[in-house]
């Protein structure tokens, strides 16, 4: 991408700029030794060839030795940035030139000044200029100091020479400094540019990563939605235009995705009459509004709708409808996640029909059995013997038991299919409790169990279905009798209590608590194992104690009792300990 190009361009870096940005002392340190080496080698060759006269051999040798030593040090310390070193080496060279000048007495040797003067002039330190001037003065004065004056113009040369050197080196030094300052500035700008480029690169990397993550997420979402083949996932705009259509929807409705997305409405797959009926029921607008009304009100909605497939067939689909928001949290449309319940609902209907049929078919012969038994047992013209009466009583008791079982099965089926309705009226629970005790009295007496009733004298009225509440109470009492060994005791108690908003039932009034009637049935029976207490309200569940002790029953009583309690807006709880007993408490809301 473009930023990588920028990056490479930066790496390529102009060598000229790079050289400029080197520390200012470096060119002198590098070029000084080389230049001096070349110059002094040339001087030595001139001396050897006799082009340069040797006046004083000692001074010339000392000069060459000093030049060699200084050049050697310069080569060795060429990496050093020490200012003293940078001054000392050219100063030593100047000394060597002074010795050679004095030893030869020839002005030719003055070309050797170029090396050290260049080195000193380009030093960042102004002392370089001073050393250059002093050194030049010393070089010019050296022949005079070593012997008698060889020229009359020495004073002029001593004055003008250093002056020219001072001006020259000062000019070179100034240029060098300006150049160094500029190169320093360029280096700074380059660093800033590099930093900016790095920043841009880093931001670009972040963007790249973010877009990769987003793409990966989108891919994950798409693959998840595409993996759902048994549920329809349909997403729409606010106006119902389809935007998302997964393979499950394709399969369920027989229309491929390209044929619906952006071109068709969710309403094309619904029954108009069903939507119209829903609109009437909910008192809202028709069409899409009827479909999403409940989801708009409550945040989500799950119910059965009829989808019309491409081949015109109708599917009963349980559709979960939720609103969809965009990235700014603004409502953008609706999601419809559907599960085809056509077969399941048909099976449920079949089961309902079957249960109704069976219960009718079982009730009819039972009606005959019980009716004719009654005729025989109540026939005053032909009274039965005690033995006959006992046998027929057994027949009657078992026929009644079968009848109750049929009733329980039918009731359970009604609860499951949601066809269980209550006939609400004011019901005095005290009367319900007394009636339950009366019903269970004979069975309790024959089992050797004592029933104690404790209800308020003035009664306790709740709104409910008297028959169903009686059935619920009977179930609890009959269970208590069945599970309590001889010599045991059953307490039927009715009192007022309060239910707090978190569902706890307390004896004392507290803030926000609603008044409830507490109907409890406590026995001193065998108790329920702790591990089984959670399953007590599951239909057909029987405790291990019940099975071990062959207590009769099919495991529907508590399921029915719980359903009745729930339908009344109440709760049913149990507390039990094995070998100690069980207490069931039904809490039903009371008015006021």
């Amino acid at each position: 991408m473009s930023l990588a190009v920028l990056d490479r361009r930066q790496d390529a870096g102009d060598p000229w700029i790079r050289r400029l940005t080197e520390p200012a002392g470096r060119p002198a340190a590098v070029h000084g030794p080389l230049l001096c080496t070349v110059l002094h080698t040339a001087a030595a060759l001139l001396l050897l060839t006799g082009a340069l006269p040797v006046v004083d051999r000692g001074l010339v040798l000392a000069g060459l030795a000093a030049a060699s030593a200084a050049t050697g040090v310069a080569w060795t310390a060429r990496r050093s940035r020490s200012v003293v070193g940078s001054l000392a080496v050219p100063a030593a060279h100047l000394g060597a030139v002074a010795l050679l000048h004095a030893g030869t007495g020839s002005a030719t040797t003055l070309f050797l000044l170029v090396g050290p003067l260049w080195a000193l002039a380009t030093l960042p330190d102004r002392r370089g200029v001073l050393v250059a001037v002093l050194g030049t003065t010393a070089v010019l004065a050296a022949p005079a100091l070593a012997g008698p004056p060889t020229a009359d113009d020495l004073p002029g040369a001593l004055l003008l020479g250093p002056l020219a050197v001072a001006v020259g080196t000062a000019a070179v030094h100034g240029s060098s400094r300006r150049l160094a300052a500029q190169s320093h500035r360029i280096a700074q700008l380059q660093r800033e540019q590099a930093a900016l480029l790095a920043q841009v690169q880093s931001r670009a990397d972040e963007l790249d990563t973010a877009s990769r993550i987003l793409a990966a997420r989108a891919q994950t979402m798409t693959s998840v939605i595409d993996a759902v083949t048994e549920q329809s996932i349909i997403g729409t705009d606010r106006d119902g235009t389809i935007r998302v259509w997964n393979p499950g929807a394709e399969k369920m409705l027989g229309v491929p995705r390209p044929d619906v997305v952006r071109t068709r409405s969710i309403l094309d797959f619904h029954l108009p009459e069903e939507l119209a009926a829903a609109a009437e029921d909910r008192g809202c607008g028709t069409g899409l509004e009827a479909l999403v009304h409940a989801a708009r009100q409550h945040g989500s909605d799950v119910r059965d709708w009829t989808y019309v497939a491409a081949d015109g067939s109708h599917r009963t689909v349980s559709v979960a409808i939720t609103p969809r928001s965009d990235d700014r949290g603004v409502h953008a449309g609706w999601n419809f996640v559907g599960t085809d319940m056509t077969e399941a609902r048909a099976t449920e209907r079949l089961k309902d029909q079957f249960v109704s049929l069976i219960s009718h078919e079982l009730r009819t012969p039972l009606s005959s059995i019980l009716g004719y038994l009654e005729l025989v047992m109540d026939d005053e013209d032909q009274p039965l013997t005690d033995e006959q009466r006992q046998y027929l009583s057994t027949v009657e008791r078992n026929a009644q038991r079968l009848l109750r079982l049929v009733g329980d099965l039918l009731f359970t089926a009604q609860v499951e299919s949601g066809r269980f309705t209550l006939q609400p009226a004011d019901v005095d629970l005290a009367g319900v409790v007394r009636a339950a005790e009366e019903t269970a009295r004979v069975a309790a007496a024959s089992a050797g169990v004592q029933i104690v009733v404790d209800v308020p004298e003035d009664g306790l009225v709740v709104a409910g279905d008297a028959v169903r509440l009686g059935q619920a109470c009977d179930n609890l009492v009959s269970n208590a009798v069945k599970f309590t060994p001889a010599g045991g005791r059953i307490d039927l108690a009715l009192r007022r209590g309060w239910r707090t908003p978190d569902g706890a039932v307390v004896d004392h009034r507290s803030q926000d608590a609603v008044p409830v009637a507490l109907l409890s049935v406590a026995d001193t029976g065998m108790g329920i194992p702790a591990g089984e207490q959670g399953q007590m309200f599951t239909r057909f569940f029987r405790t291990s104690n019940a099975q071990r002790n062959a207590v009769p029953g099919v495991g529907l009583g508590l399921t029915i009792t719980k359903a009745i309690t729930t339908a009344h807006g109440g709760t049913l709880d149990l507390v039990s300990a094995e070998g100690v007993g069980t207490t069931f408490t039904m809490a039903l809301p009371v008015a006021g």
């Binding site: 109704s356 009730r363 009819t364 009606s367 005959s368 009716g371 009654e374 005729l375 309705t421």
Partner: protein
Amino acid sequence: MDPAQHSPGGGLAGPVPGGEVRVLVADDEDDIRALVCLAVRKAGCQVVAAAPDGTAALEAARAELPDLAVLDVSMPGATGLEVCEALRSAPATAGTRILLLSAGASPDEVARGLAAGADAYLPKPFTVSGLVRQVRALAVREPVA
């Protein structure tokens, strides 16, 4: 013979005071129909017809014009509810008192029965004594029309 003399204190047995009440019984189950007939007679009434289905029940009702009809709800031909509505809509039988018997005893079913024009509704299985009481109660009631 005065039938009232045979039912002192409103007992179960014996004819209904004020003359023998003519009753139509309809139930597709033979045993139940026989049991209902027995109960009707125990209540001191006369069974004028015992029909095994809804169609026969309607024909018998039109022919006999009974005072009381004891109808099973679930019958072939025409259901007890349909017979009930047909009797109520025909002027000749509109005043017939009607007792429905049904295995369905849910509040909805009872409400449907009463809406169809029945005077009383007795869920199955019934006790003979309960049916006798119900028949007697309807038998002594003045006809609706």
